[in-house]
């Protein structure tokens, strides 16, 4: 069976060549991945495996930055670097801030 991310040769339409400038939060996701890789906390191969475990719908339903963020978060929980409770509490804390955006 072909995995959903393994796209070579599968039917597809025209290529959308619109460019978009990455926003700061998207660049930060890339920076987090670089740092976690450099500190040997997360291998890029593990993040790829995480992307390949998101499921077809999520993988194609969210943006590139979003799916990389999901895979990174899942991997950090899997490795015990952060816990589900910590993450939930932190997100609630961010939502309660008067001016949450940096």
């Amino acid at each position: 069976m072909r995995a959903y991310h393994d796209l070579g040769g599968t039917p597809a339409g025209p290529i959308d060549r619109n460019e978009h400038e990455l926003q700061l939060w998207e660049k930060r996701i890339e920076a987090l991945l670089v740092l976690l890789t450099r500190k040997k906390i997360l291998r890029i191969d593990e993040n790829r495996r995480g992307l390949e475990s998101l499921g077809n719908e999520t993988y194609f339903g969210v943006s590139y930055a979003e799916r990389r963020m999901l895979s990174m978060s899942n991997n950090l929980i899997l490795k015990g670097v952060i816990t589900v409770e910590e993450l939930a509490a932190k997100i609630a804390q961010i939502e309660s801030r008067v001016d949450p955006l940096p």
Binding site: D45, E46, R49
Partner: protein, 104 residues
Amino acid sequence: MSAAAAIATHAFQPGQTVHVRKVDSLGHIRTPHYIRGSTGVIERFVGFFKNPEELAYGRSGEPRCALYRVRFVQSQVWPDYSGAAGDTIDIDIYEHWLQPVNPS
């Protein structure tokens, strides 16, 4: 190149014809599905690299695997290929995915 790599050996030489194993494997695989079962020619030996199929699960990736750049003729990869006869595709493939093809 690491000390481990210096004593390791690799099985294939440039110019040798190889067959990509047609394994329907689960797990984290870096050999694209579309090339499995195809026959190509070793373009070069690239070096020894940690095994991504192991690294993906948090293991060490040792022992390192020989990696090759393998060249395939497009019209043999895709039966309906519409380009020129000389068109090729190069793919980096780890040794355990390759089998020797004996010239007949």
